[in-house]
């Protein structure tokens, strides 16, 4: 219990420092966050045209369902990159030898590495998800509950997927492209109705690339009120996070220091 408290304290400390650094350049922060919100809104326009002009359901989802998966994906990804802003830079940190700095720190290497940076545009993603949910689901308590579940588990899953993909660098060398592709795959599988994909892809979405656990299962629970599925979401998230953690440390044993001297300010 004290370990959990210790690491929660560490994460909140990183969060405060990162936020203070971001607010130092307030205009930049606001422009980037607002720009990201506008950017995401264009996709709603696409779906609005698709549903209004074509009508009916697409892949078993109606317009509200699509907005729900968009709001969860957007907020979950936003939250992941706000707290764990280095999740897209792990390979670069390993390859350049910057990892040495984190190895010397007294706390968990992976956690320190992930939380040492934040993303400014991610705030736009996070708020966009909230706005979309308010507009599309109103006061539906089931939708809000499942949104919260999806955002928390989803942010952990996005991070776990990034960690797993980037950890391949320890074994195969620079995997920047592979890692960005892996995240791109998950995001793409999250923002379109699951029903449009063939069975094989749906199987992948429940296993290798767990997009179904991030958005599609929470949506299914909100609509069917089958809360037993929450356990499945939690088990899937825990399993994937543990695997990512184990895989990172397995790879870390192969890391060789380049004796890089850097200053973190």
């Amino acid at each position: 219990m004290s370990t959990i408290r210790k690491y929660t304290g560490l994460l909140s400390c990183y969060f405060k420092v990162n936020l203070a650094a971001a607010l130092e350049y307030r205009t930049s922060f606001l422009v980037q966050a607002f720009g990201m919100t506008i950017s995401n809104a264009s996709f709603v326009f696409f779906w609005w045209v698709a549903f209004v002009q074509i009508g009916g359901r697409i892949g078993g989802y109606d317009f509200r369902d699509v907005l729900f998966i968009w709001s969860v994906s957007s907020s979950a990804f936003g939250l992941a990159t706000i707290i764990f802003g280095n999740l897209n830079r792990i390979t670069a940190i390993i390859v350049t030898g910057e990892l040495d700095t984190y190895l010397l720190q007294p706390k968990d290497v992976l956690l320190s590495l992930l939380a040492a940076r934040t993303s400014l545009t991610a705030w736009g993603d996070l708020f966009y998800g909230v706005i979309l949910l308010v507009l599309s689901q109103g006061r539906d308590p089931h939708a809000w509950l499942m949104y919260l579940l999806g955002v928390i588990t989803g942010s952990l899953l996005f991070t776990a997927i990034a960690v797993s993909a980037h950890s391949c660098t320890f074994f195969f060398g620079d995997t920047t492209m592979f890692s960005s592709l892996a995240l791109e795959f998950v995001i793409n599988f999250c923002i379109y109705p699951i029903g449009i994909y063939p069975l094989l892809v749906r199987f992948i979405m429940y296993s290798l690339i767990p997009a179904a656990f991030i958005v599609h299962l929470p949506l299914a629970i909100a609509r069917s009120l089958n809360y037993g599925l929450v356990l499945l979401v939690l088990a899937g998230t825990l399993g994937y996070c543990l695997f990512a953690y184990w895989f990172f440390y397995k790879g870390l044993k192969r890391y060789e220091s380049g004796n890089l001297i850097i200053t973190r300010m």
């Binding site: 720009g35 950017s39 264009s42 696409f46 002009q53 592709l181 791109e184 795959f185 379109y192 109705p193």
Partner: protein, 263 residues
């Protein structure tokens, strides 16, 4: 003559750079395949047969392959490059070179554009053929016009990005403009043909340059007609001239904001 040699040298160097990193091209080919596969699944689910707003499923997939080719594959790093040049101060070194900054940027990107157009263009055709087969009614006699339309679309996009990049001279934080521009391109033709939009929006979109980047060339390729060709090609030429003028105008204004501080 000297200028031709000078700028063609820059273009050649950019071409060699683009070929030097095949892994970069391969990763973008994979990304392109992902987008097209997702859209294929999506539009396959939407189309229950027949046509929507004059487009069959086959035409729609070819349309998306072409719009993604123009916007995603034939994009260059000119916007981020110019932003970096201004913010890092590297602009000071570029401005003293014996060449015009805008023309330098154009030829610097030309090699990369050519490689992208050839590599992704061939791949787009292979991908579309694999997914939906041959495009009905397509004739090779129309190819020169379609190719001109594609080149005009890519050029228009390029000079619009240059103008946006130049705003970094005035407003240091200009990412917001880029986001808005990018989404206008997405909404007005890249993801969905203009014909799918509400009528009032279609008429506005036809008056703006954004839909002439992706919609006009892709529509010409998938549903060729001489009437449409005569309608869009002059407009594309017009918008390209306007975008070049805008880039040169922005540049002449932007350089006034430079402050050099030794070093």
């Amino acid at each position: 003559m000297k200028s031709i040699v000078k700028y063609s040298g820059i273009a050649r160097q950019s071409l060699l750079n683009a070929i030097q990193y095949p892994a970069n091209i391969i990763s973008r080919l994979l990304m392109y395949s992902l987008f097209i596969s997702v859209f294929f699944c999506l539009w396959g689910a939407i189309y229950q047969g027949g046509e929507v707003h004059g487009y069959s499923l086959v035409q729609m997939i070819w349309y998306l392959c072409f719009t993604e080719l123009i916007v995603f594959c034939c994009r260059t790093t000119v916007y981020t490059q110019m932003n970096d040049d201004v913010k890092s101060g590297a602009i000071a070194y570029l401005l003293v070179r014996p060449c015009h900054y805008i023309i330098f940027q154009f030829f610097q990107s030309l090699g990369e554009l050519c490689v992208n157009l050839v590599a992704f263009g061939s791949y787009a055709i292979v991908l579309a053929l694999t997914y939906v087969g041959v495009l009905e009614g397509f004739s090779f006699y129309n190819m020169p016009y379609i190719l001109i339309s594609f080149i005009l679309g890519i050029t228009l996009n390029f000079f619009m990005l240059i103008s946006l990049g130049l705003t970094a001279f005035i407003w240091e934080e200009n990412t917001g403009f880029y986001f808005v521009y990018q989404k206008l391109i997405f909404m007005l033709g890249m993801f969905i043909p203009l014909e799918f939009l509400p009528v009032w929006l279609q008429s506005i979109a036809r008056m703006l340059p954004f839909s002439y980047v992706a919609w006009a060339p892709a529509r010409l390729a998938v549903a060729y007609s001489s009437e449409f060709r005569d309608q869009v090609l002059p407009l594309q030429f017009l918008w390209v001239f306007a975008s070049v003028w805008l880039a040169v105008f922005c540049y002449s204004r932007a350089v006034l904001h430079i402050q050099g501080q030794g070093g």
